[in-house]
Symmetry: C3
Subunit: 342 residues, 3 copies
Amino acid sequence: MELTAQQIADILKGTIEGDPTISVTTLSKIEEAEKGSLTFLANPKYTQYIYATNASIVIVNNSFSPDKPVTSTLIRVEDSYSAFATLLDAYNQIKQNKKGLSKLASISASASLGEDCYVGEFVSIGNQVQIGNNVKIYPQCYIGDNVIIGNNTIIYPGVKIYSDNEIGNDCTFHAGVVIGSDGFGFAPQSDSNYKKITQIGNVKIEDNVEIGANTIVDRATLGSTIIRRGVKLDNLIQVAHNVEIGENTIIAAQTGISGTTKIGKNCLIGGQVGIVGHLVIADGVKIAAQSGVGSSIKEEGTMVQGSPSFDISTYRRSYIHFKNLQKIVTRLNKLEKNQKKP
Amino acid sequence: MELTAQQIADILKGTIEGDPTISVTTLSKIEEAEKGSLTFLANPKYTQYIYATNASIVIVNNSFSPDKPVTSTLIRVEDSYSAFATLLDAYNQIKQNKKGLSKLASISASASLGEDCYVGEFVSIGNQVQIGNNVKIYPQCYIGDNVIIGNNTIIYPGVKIYSDNEIGNDCTFHAGVVIGSDGFGFAPQSDSNYKKITQIGNVKIEDNVEIGANTIVDRATLGSTIIRRGVKLDNLIQVAHNVEIGENTIIAAQTGISGTTKIGKNCLIGGQVGIVGHLVIADGVKIAAQSGVGSSIKEEGTMVQGSPSFDISTYRRSYIHFKNLQKIVTRLNKLEKNQKKP
Amino acid sequence: MELTAQQIADILKGTIEGDPTISVTTLSKIEEAEKGSLTFLANPKYTQYIYATNASIVIVNNSFSPDKPVTSTLIRVEDSYSAFATLLDAYNQIKQNKKGLSKLASISASASLGEDCYVGEFVSIGNQVQIGNNVKIYPQCYIGDNVIIGNNTIIYPGVKIYSDNEIGNDCTFHAGVVIGSDGFGFAPQSDSNYKKITQIGNVKIEDNVEIGANTIVDRATLGSTIIRRGVKLDNLIQVAHNVEIGENTIIAAQTGISGTTKIGKNCLIGGQVGIVGHLVIADGVKIAAQSGVGSSIKEEGTMVQGSPSFDISTYRRSYIHFKNLQKIVTRLNKLEKNQKKP
């Protein structure tokens, strides 16, 4: 991709200050930008870099007024950050240009695919699968029998979707994601063996959900494990059977949610959090990283920390005292010594 | 799958109360069941749902005596929960109906497979591999050279088994499982580099072991990493080199076990637990979720919590005081103030 | 592989004590060695085993002087541990004998591969990919467009490398590794939805890096996520966007590093550690397992523990008092009671 300052200014409806014929081939941060790259200045903290950058073109706010000479060509716009984001999206569209069904994929005759889909090499698509329009399935993915996938969903290499699961529109699943593996359910037997409890439910993932690499969503024992619209799951997360995660909840990497727990909408859950099974977490709850949630949280917007977790400000106060426990014990020793004095 | 009430009653040796010709196509929970589905009532807490359910058929205990009219057809049996479990297994058998060796798989001429095996598309089976009867290997699995797999084992899509490992009968490995990757062993060199220690051992997995999605069992440096019969590992677990896990031990998701640690049989280990290397954990030990086990546990049936972990009831008492540390410090302040008074 | 005592002694320049024609087919630990296996004795703690071992051949130090009769054939060398390591490497070389480009791989016409490469079945190699000499790519790997891979790198089955990433020489990536998945970046919108921030940066991995199974390195938002030479990452680790990890740093399994954090060289980071984003960790820092690092660590060689973490010796002292909090509270109760007395 090679674009001139003039072409970019036309896209962004901006004004050029410098050489309209100068061209760029890549996007960079202002502090790392080399010749041939385009960058932007939005945060005033980074203003210093514009005087030293090697970027060929810098997008700046109309309000930007340099203190020293700038060698890069400038494109002035109302909001440089938004303008850059617009260009990022355009750049990404060009990257995501894969099209067509590979002859090296295995697609069941009973599967249906919409228009403009991409199916890469060594993908396996099972019987009665229904795939919408403009879906991109990268190499080596597995789409089991009876799976339904909506429009515009992107499935990166090596994703495994077991049979009978339902995926919405505009979702993105990263490499190694597993959808619909068996829930972890075993009934103890009299001889200390365990008997597997057959897991015949499925997973339902609504629209606009992003799931990070190697994250797992287990199928329900009966019924469905449900990920509501707008949920964002980071990498290496465990979502157990029959869990429900509410709309627009964000969960950071390596968190685990045990079976049948129901999480509200608009929650923010940190990394490496563990949540035990059969709980209900209210809307808008915030859980600090590495916390262990052992009981339901009923009040909306509650913030918790600790393992087991409790109110975050109480936790932080207790933790300061924990750091000082040696001093506390020393004070106790002294009190005891003084008290013994006649 | 479509079955009538009469067919189901025949399988379960039950009595029909209602329409013997009514048919079902799916299994559901009683509180979610729609027309066309079969459900059951075992737990008295759910009795209320039977009067409102849309299920076409409900399996109930012989002892069930309705207080109000029930619209569903009932099938009465001695133990409705067991009867439903029997049907679940039958349903699952029908689901697991994949058969034959895909022409799109790569199977070494020197590999041997037993009867009634399934090998899916894009599976790679190496030299001298020995596979028993009725083994199901889903698409995109990798079975390295010299691997041995027993009878009736199910290997879901994308499992990677490195060369020279041994898998027993009746095992289930979920998508993304890795068996036999190198143990994490590096010898520090004088120049602060590290030299890899070659890992030439293997992994031995006995019968009736279930391993969850994206869980990893590393190969031994020398000798074997061993998973004994009946062990159940949840998703995203790390089992390091030369670990041994005893019979029927259950481990929840995201737990990590460091090198050369030996875990007894019938243990229950929670999620996100970490166990350091070279320890011995006795039989029947229970480890609370998110604990960090830093030393061997010699007494059978011990229960521990904390990071580092210690006796669970002591931990819980300490943790209550931890939550109240602010109050404890306030009391200390007061004592000191009082003592200073003349 | 079958070798006689004479052949091994020739390789190691050692002296035989016993039968020079006896042969071995495998390598074992001294305490587990069976007939037909080769082992070694280096650590004096294991001397007892040499009198009972069934090993056909044992490599011992020149200085070894048995107290009782030994039935195995001995090969005496200056340093038995080093000699065994030399044999291990030779053994491994023979194991790693895969060669050639599989006809069942999909390799873009615009990709270039060096000499002596191995590309296994169902590998997908994209456009403009550049691969060096003696690179081994096992079955079912995905190498996206424009990826660059140096010489002698080994990529085990099912690794997924997204487009535009750069991998150095002499690296080893285990099964299920994901390189270059999108960083977890979403901008909150006014309607409580989130808008994905396009991640157009890449990942740069320098020479001699080993990455464990199912570990993930996300691509940068802009610029690069960087893993410096000699870094060793264990299994199931999360490395977020724009992280930088310094030379020869070692990180144990299931640790997570949040976005834009910069870790120094020669650090030792335990398992299940979490590090929050935008921090700087100095060289040579040691972080105990399960710690949560919440602020930058500026002093080289600092050792920390806890969640949030602080100085390790203070943590350990505080933790001892934490275990004894019941006793501390009992002492406080007694002090109060005594003080109230007239």
